[in-house]
Each structure stands twice: as C-alpha cells, then as structure tokens.
C-alpha cells in the first residue's frame, strides 16, 4: 500500500469515525442523562432509540434556515463553520494507534491548543453577528471564559510535555509505557480536564450558553443546520477532548495486548466521554465570577506549582 493511499484512508477513516461518533454521542448523552435522572431517555426511534439523532438531523435539515434581518450576514454564516472546522482539525494530530494518525506533527500539543483557541471565534462571532443582546452577553462571557481557561490548559499540559521531552503526541504516548501520565501528573490532569471542559463550554461550565439565563446565549438566533453545526461541533469537541486526554494522560493506545491498540484507545476515550456526560448530569453551573475567580486564583497557581515540581523532579 502506497504511503499516499494510506494517508487518505486514515483521513477518510477519522472523518467517518467522527461523523458517526457525533450523532451517536447525542443519542448516548440523552440516554445516559435519562438514566441518571431515573428516566428512560429516547427509546422510540429504532431499537433502543438509536435512530433518534437521525430523526433530529432530518428535522434540522428540513427546518427553515433563517437569518435574522438585523444580523451581520457573512459573519453570521461564517461562525458555525468555524466550530466544526476547529473541532475536526484538532483530531488530525491524535494518534489512534501506532502509525494511524493524520498528521504526526512535532508540535502536536501546540496544534491542539491553537485549534482550541481558534474555537473562541465561533462563539464571539456568532454572538456578535446575531445582533441580539443575549447573544452578545453570551459571546462576551464565552470569550472571557475561553481566554482564561486556555492559559492554564496550556500550562497544565507542559508537565506531560516535559516528562516526554516532546510536543509530538506519538512520542508522548510512547513515553507512558512504564506508567500512565495520570499518576505522576495527577494535578496537571485535573487542571487540564477542568480547563478542557470549560474550553468546550460544556456543562457545568456552559456559561456562554446558559439556557436559564441567556436563552442559549451565542446561538439564540441560529436555526436549522447552522444550529446543527454548533451542536455537532460541540459533540466532536467532546470526542476530541476525550481523545486528547486519553493520549496525554491515559497512555493512548497502550494496554494489555489481548486487544489491538485502537480498541484500547477507543475504549478509554469512550470512558472519558461518559465521564464528561456524567459531569453534565451531576454538577450545577457556577456563577460567572466564581468561574473566573476559580480559574485565576486556584487553577493557575496550581498548574504553575505542578510545572515547577515536575521540573524539580526532572532536573534533580
């Protein structure tokens, strides 16, 4: 098999995987949330309700794609594309198994951070171009929250980078053969995970959306498939965060050899996804100033201390 063909197969495979995971995740999330709230969740469409996202997608596609007359049209259309674009791009660097990676960049971690920092634009532009005061409030909250949490999301990852001595994700995975990074870098893991959930503005950190305060915040004015883009982008973002956490802290494809590497990777990713959904089901939304204070006053010093201690032990 030629190298180019192999690369194309990986690219198509990853995109197909993500496009199947995103609707599957919508179903899984609703089902799990239902179970955790003593309900049953969607179980009507198809066996166990598994075709529910399909029905949702059909509904979204056939819905009127309405652009408010007061909106800034080009920016309004651009914003949902940015969400999906950044979410998809981040997946390019995650190694699913040895050699199965779209782009094995030597700055993989930085690429992830860059894509997640570009993701802010979706919120900011979507909220601003809607020309709606709730959307603008959501956009402002989102921008502040995501810039804040980006800072120590990067810093918390540096401990792992220092231990592996590389920004390359495959090398980081290979450096975890003795022990998963989650044990020596537990503080880094906790900070990264909290920052990651905040960066995705998933519940409990869904302050830019906050249905109860801002009526869906930055995407209030979106309907039809543009809203669907935000929706799908969020779920691809969840998958991406889970996959990245697996790679950085849980040893990626490493695991006992009775299962192939890719199976281990998917299994760990799935477990983290379920945990992210569990967070949504169990925790209340913090107030806006609590979130910012928590970030700057606790998580930032914590990640800096983690960095320092890691450096001490490495250079000792």
């Amino acid at each position: 098999m030629s190298e180019t063909l192999r690369l194309w197969l990986i690219v198509v495979g990853v995109i197909a995987l993500l496009l199947t995971i995103a609707p599957g995740l919508i179903w899984l999330e609703r089902r799990l949330l239902g179970w955790w709230q003593d309900r049953k969740g969607p179980n009507r469409v198809g066996p166990f309700g598994i075709f529910q996202p399909l029905a949702d997608a059909i509904k979204l596609i056939f819905k009127e794609d309405w652009i408010p007359p007061f909106a800034d049209k080009p920016v309004f259309i651009l914003a949902p594309a940015v969400v999906v674009f950044t979410a998809f791009m981040s997946y390019a660097i995650i190694p699913l198994a040895p050699g199965i990676v779209v782009a094995d960049l030597n700055i993989g971690v930085l690429f992830f951070l860059a894509m997640s920092s570009l993701g802010v634009y979706a919120i900011v532009l979507g909220g601003w171009s809607s020309n709606n005061k709730y959307s603008l409030l959501g956009a402002m909250r989102g921008a502040a929250q995501m810039i804040t949490y980006e800072v120590f999301m990067g810093i918390s990852l540096l401990g792992v980078v220092m231990m592996a001595g590389s920004f390359n994700l495959s090398e980081i995975v290979l450096a975890q053969q003795g022990m998963w990074n989650v044990v020596p870098q537990f503080v880094g893991f906790v900070v990264f995970f909290i920052a990651g959930v905040a960066e995705l503005h998933r519940l409990p950190f869904d302050i830019p959306e906050a249905e109860s305060e801002l009526i869906a915040g930055y995407h209030s004015e979106y309907s039809g498939m543009k809203f669907g883009m935000f929706f799908v982008g969020e779920y691809i973002g969840v998958t991406m965060l889970a996959g990245f956490t697996t790679t950085m802290f849980f040893g990626g494809w490493l695991g006992p050899s009775f299962l192939p590497g890719i199976a281990w990777f998917l299994l760990k990713t799935f477990a983290i996804i379920v945990f992210i959904i569990l967070l949504r089901g169990s925790l209340p939304r913090p107030r806006y100033d609590q979130l910012m204070g928590y970030g700057w006053k606790i998580l930032l010093p914590l990640s800096l201390i983690n960095l320092m201690v890691t450096g001490y032990f490495l250079l000792r």
Binding site: L32, W35, W36, D38, L283
Partner: protein, 171 residues
Amino acid sequence: MLSILESIWIVFIRLFSKKITVEYPDEQFRLPPRYRGRIVLTRDPDGGERCVGCYLCAVACPVDCIALQATEDENGRRYPEFFRINFSRCIYCGFCEEACPTYAIQLIPDFEMSEYLRSNMVYEKEDLLIDGEGKYHGYNYWRVSGMAIGGKDKGESEREDPPIDIKSLLP
C-alpha cells in the same frame, strides 16, 4: 471538592436504579377515581337526565366554558335544551361539579381529549351525556325533591309527608 466527587458518584449510581418513566401510550396510567378529567353529564337511576338546568355550573365556572339553556318538558321537569362545554377553555377545576345540586355534572378520570381541530373541542349535550350514574349511585333528584311534576304530586316524594291542609281543624 469532596462534595463535588460525592455528588458525581450519587448521580452515577442512579444508573442502576429503577426508572420511574411510564411509557404512556403502551402502558396506561392508573388514575385515582377522583381524578378531575373530562366532564360528563350523568343520568339518574331511572334513565332520565339529572341536569335540571339551574345554571349554577355556568356561574361557578371561572373560565366561562359552560353554556346551557334550560327548558321544561310536558311533565314540568326542567332539563337543558342544549348543554355545551368548550373543552379548549376548560381548566378542569371541578367547581362545576361542586356547584351542581343534582350530581348531574361530574369529572371523570379521562384526559385523552386531543383533537386536530379546535372546534372539535366543543362538546354538545349528546357528547357529554352518558348512560350511567357516574360516581354517585342511586340518587334521583326528582324522587327526593318536593317539587310537583307530572306523575308525582306534592308530598309523594321519598321521606316526605303529605302536605298539611292548613284550612282543616283536624290534627
């Protein structure tokens, strides 16, 4: 911090608890007999209409969804000429049932009244009238009231003495 982990754990173990969802169309609700649902007009044990057209239900109704017109038959029995309930307005408060002096209007445990046309929510007398006595058995207003109607004169009701002739000196 610990309390956050605790609440996460508490929510997680709900995964294995019994679900309280009742899958409604497949599985019917068991409603209590005094549930206030659809309104019916009942008949007395003899099969006559209980409603005497007193308008009390229409007066009591807070949303004015009841409309009726009283009339009399050849025996002097009052009955509604028409009796109309607009269920798209009805709030199922049960005040009409409480106001009714003859147990005629009653709320029964049935709530499946969806319609595609709003005008179908207006129920006429023939829709409301049922062939039973509803929740209160054996009661017949015309048999216990002192009113004279065709076939029953004054003093012929149940638990009623014949009228006293006030012009007579006899005890």
